[in-house]
């Protein structure tokens, strides 16, 4: 019988011997999720800024909508996009279903509300004098916005890391929209789901370890950065 420790040992062996199949999956995972977060972040930051700094009708409603959207399950996002992108769906002509682009769309939709909600919380509690000071010193609104982001970088990087954490480990929408195709749309979570269904736990554990190590590294970096920020303040 394959015990947990034996499977873990084999997993570490697979990782350190540079098993190409394993590392392809890891590469796809990071490539897709990084692209999703890179596309989502600027738009999310602008939205969060508008919600925190501008007064317009419907602002409170929008904040509630984004906070609610946090709890939409990944499979619902996956299903909705699947219906839109399917051959019979309104966007079927794009032929995007079962491509990396479809996965990116899904992950974009998943991390966007989280990015907006967390960045909004950070900017809402931020010091308004930063924005005003930049403007009075002759900064353009865009430059003042960038200054504001820099001043609140600890909270905002925290939001981005949380958003990345949500999508890198997400299985529902990636499985539905990407199709778990070998060497193309098979990422860490869908591969874990597949390996588990095949009963080969070593590969699953190896990939799980990658996610665990990544989460650890990100959190340590974030903690250090925020620790430094606290000392200065």
């Amino acid at each position: 019988m394959e015990t947990l420790s034996a499977a873990t040992y084999q997993a570490v062996y697979l990782l350190f011997t540079g098993d190409p199949a394993l590392w392809t999956i890891i590469g796809i995972s990071f490539s897709v999720s990084l692209r999703a977060i890179v596309y989502a972040t600027p738009l999310a930051l602008l939205t969060a800024f508008a919600l925190a700094y501008l007064r317009f009708p419907g602002r409170r409603l929008l904040v509630s909508i984004f906070n609610t959207a946090l709890s939409i399950p990944a499979v619902v996002v996956g299903l909705t996009l699947y219906i839109l992108l399917s051959k019979a769906g309104p966007l079927g002509e794009w032929r995007l279903l079962f491509t990396q682009e479809a996965m990116i769309m899904g992950q974009f939709c998943l991390c966007f509300p989280l990015l907006v909600a967390m960045s909004h919380a950070a900017l809402q509690s931020s010091d308004r004098r930063a924005w005003e000071t930049a403007l009075t010193l002759g900064a353009s609104p865009l430059r003042a916005f960038l200054t504001l982001l820099h001043e609140n970088r600890f909270g905002l990087v925290g939001a981005i890391v949380a958003g990345f954490g949500r999508i890198i480990a997400e299985v529902g929408s990636s499985m539905m929209l990407g199709g778990n195709i070998l060497n193309y749309t098979r990422n860490i979570p869908t591969a874990i789901a597949l390996e588990t269904s095949k009963g080969s736990f070593a590969e699953g554990i190896a990939l799980g370890l990658v996610l665990l190590v990544m989460a650890l590294v990100l959190n340590i970096l974030l903690g250090q950065m925020q620790g430094k920020g606290e000392v200065i303040q």
Binding site: F98, G179, L194
Partner: protein, 268 residues
């Protein structure tokens, strides 16, 4: 307020114990395609009525189903992977294996059939025709019974499938059918899943009937000598009943979307 919480707790406890009281049923691992065929929804209630034994079905891939048997996580395994089943018994994990019915695999693809496999007698010739055309083929790619069958058919056709046309999906049969439909690709499927899904797909059944496409089902009890805590007695009772004339007749009469799906092997 306190009283209300107490009552609530009591209710939750009661609810939990009521559901826990149903413990110790017979646990059976089977494949998703078996579950999706709907046959178990007919057989298992009939068995429970007769024996009083409740069967909990865990539907996973063939590989995982056999692994659950190996680890003693289930009491009985119902799969359709002949050589893997034999190995499972030979290695001493299972006993009392019977083959009790079969269905068949079919090749499905775009209605326009660009590879022209319709009417092809030999399934290996059909696969060779698909390989010659710049057209996609979606493979289960999940080490399931269907996947193993497909790999053996490619081997029989002397083709090493690889490249961007050969899409290894790593998902269940229903999902793979949807993908093939979306991508205008061919795929190999069991007839049961095909019948269940065909109305939702933009595809046609294009090739069937070759003896190589037959798909026998086996049921095996987990060897109690290896895992003492398994429910062997009930497992044996289920296997005996599946082989009985009553169950075999039920299998013969079973219809999915008006079409017969399984052919019993033990009917007199």
């Amino acid at each position: 307020m306190f009283r209300f919480t107490r009552i609530l707790f009591a209710l939750i406890l009661l609810w939990a114990t009521v559901f826990a009281a149903h413990a110790a049923p017979l646990r059976m691992a089977t494949t998703t395609s078996t579950q999706n065929s709907g046959l178990l929804d007919l057989l298992l209630p009939a068995f429970q009525k007769k024996s009083g034994i409740e069967v909990h079905v865990i539907a996973v891939g063939t590989g995982k189903a056999l692994k659950m048997g190996r680890d003693g996580d289930v009491d009985v395994v119902m799969v359709h992977a002949e050589s893997a089943e034999k190995k499972f018994v030979e290695e001493g994990y299972g006993v009392d294996r019977i083959q009790f019915m079969y269905n068949d695999f079919v090749l499905v693809g775009p209605k326009s059939d660009p590879a022209g496999i319709k009417g092809e007698k030999s399934v290996t010739d059909a696969l060779a025709a698909i390989n010659k055309q710049p057209i996609k083929f979606v493979s289960r790619g999940d080490d399931s019974g269907t996947h193993k069958k497909e790999r053996s058919l490619w081997a029989a056709a002397d083709i090493q499938p690889a490249g961007s046309w050969y899409i290894e999906a790593g998902q269940g049969m229903g999902k793979v059918l949807q993908m093939a439909s979306e991508l205008d690709a061919y795929t190999l499927t069991d007839r049961g899943t095909w019948l269940a899904y065909k109305d939702k797909l933009d595809m046609a059944l294009l090739n069937a009937g070759d003896v190589k496409l037959s798909n026998p089902y086996g049921i095996i009890a987990v060897d109690p000598k290896r895992h003492a805590d398994t429910n062997y007695a009930d497992a044996k009772q289920l296997i005996d009943w599946i082989g009985s004339q009553e169950a075999q007749q039920l299998i013969k009469d079973y219809r999915l979307h008006g079409e017969p799906l399984f052919i019993p092997l033990l009917l007199n």
